[in-house]
Symmetry: C2
């Protein structure tokens, strides 16, 4: 079973930022500047965590993976045009 | 009853960014560069949305408010030291 997650990242180094972006692009939807939406089964989440840990500098970078409720709704204010499939916007 | 939310923002203008940051600082915890954690009752969420709408430029800025499950857990990789009260980290 897959769950919905938001991945938010603060990466201080350009090279590491590109690697994080590439890794996340492979499994999720880029919905805000430093935010991805991912639909992951538990093993996929575990694998993603390992991959990201290998890329980042633990003393400088900060990545958070927030689980969303199964029926993911969120508020979008402004020009939030990138909305992942299966996610509703409530205003 | 209060629910947990993550607020992620991409604000292109310095002046508006400061206003958004100030508004969110009043009601939430700044946990990542452009991410706040907020515990809000529904009327508070409605009020926050109105305040933020008044600040941003709808054509340039992008704010998302993601509801979190009641028992909020999230993964923190790297130097994620700002963890809001009542939120657990799972590794």
């Amino acid at each position: 079973m897959k769950s919905n997650y938001i991945v938010c990242y603060d990466i201080t180094n350009e090279k590491r930022l590109k690697k994080v972006f590439k890794t996340l692009s492979g499994i999720g939807t880029h919905i805000q500047y430093s935010v991805f939406f991912c639909k992951l089964a538990w093993p996929e989440l575990t694998e993603l965590k390992e991959k990201l840990k290998d890329i980042i500098d633990g003393n400088e970078d900060d990545i958070r993976i927030y689980p969303l409720p199964s029926r993911s709704k969120f508020v979008a204010l402004g020009q939030g045009d990138r909305v992942p499939e299966g996610v509703e916007i409530f205003l």
